[in-house]
Symmetry: C2
Subunit: 201 residues, 2 copies
Amino acid sequence: MTIATDTRSRIIAAAKPRFHSRSYANVGIQEICESAGVQKGSFYHFFPSKRDLVIAVIEEFADDWANGFVAEAFDPALPPMERIDYLIDAAYFWQKSIKQVHGRMLGCIFGNLTLEVSTQDDIVRAKLLAIFSRAKSRFQDTLDQAVASGVIAPLDTSRTAEAMLAYLEGVILLAKSQNDPELLYRLGPAIKTLRVEKAGG
Amino acid sequence: MTIATDTRSRIIAAAKPRFHSRSYANVGIQEICESAGVQKGSFYHFFPSKRDLVIAVIEEFADDWANGFVAEAFDPALPPMERIDYLIDAAYFWQKSIKQVHGRMLGCIFGNLTLEVSTQDDIVRAKLLAIFSRAKSRFQDTLDQAVASGVIAPLDTSRTAEAMLAYLEGVILLAKSQNDPELLYRLGPAIKTLRVEKAGG
DNA sequence: CTTGCATTTTACCGGTCGGTCAACTAGTGT
DNA sequence: ACACTAGTTGACCGACCGGTAAAATGCAAG
């Protein structure tokens, strides 16, 4: 049952930076195949459709994050609110390094795809939703711990977590419109001022 | 110098809902022409390229907003912070009504286009940037007045305005991923908790 | 050595993409 | 009556789109 070739992963590897930098619709299967050194017929042996490829790409990006910056940021050894600082920092440095290499701020692949395809493909949207949902849980757990340890005043951790995730995506969007990751640096820390009070409070 | 026909505006009118709901790349000029009852050659009489069309579409959307909800929300007669409430409400009801008619939450056309094309077309990006810049100014003026009248504690109104705009775009993005405008209703009001302190404070 | 399956190759499909072109129409000013 | 021009028409361009089919290959188990 081991994988016989690396064709599938080469396709995904070729697709990742392209979908990230030039959107879903603007990258053709032909181009991906050429870049991966794969024939088109071979592509369709591994992926029933273009949609299946983008879902695989989303999963790989999510894994990269989960095993990289996110794992570092949401380290239980860190004080809760410092984890959020860490995550913002990580997002900033990542976008900055991409811009240095690529000349452009590419933003968040999940946000990009959400706005591009979520009105047209409910399956892709569901995949993105699941990833945002996991991200929200990370924020919420952190906030729960911060409240429990008395670092911040009690609040609606579920909604505040969503608000923080939204803010992060929004700052990345605005930074992309300026092609300038420094906006993340300037506006990022304000994420901790966001508060949704408890319904009964 | 008056306009001889309404062809140009019919093209824009046909393009607006399509770019809004299905992105830029996924809507072809042929489809727009058919819907507007215009020949393709006639299209290129009015628009040198597809890019010029999308810029005209962006301008019309911006005018719609500026003369509609935005003018109402940023009414100088309203207390400053209530204007922000009003704007959030307006965004919520707009998205909700779109979903009722269209079955989908389409989100903000400016945010949508920013994430889709701003890495590929600096001219379109500049147009979007100008619109965000104007929106930021509205927020900032409001915050300046709120500070001046003592309704809120002094803060960095420029950066807080940017943060608020980012938050609004982020909440719309997240709501679109859930295809649910109610998220705007639940998270919107937290926009007023955002604060970027003055550098020297 | 052979069967069988996973993988790869190559050629091909109908349709659409953004954009061009030259001919034609209709209205205006002189 | 004339010329000029804005607007319109419909045919056309090469390139690319996502996807298909069948034949060829390589490899491993029997």
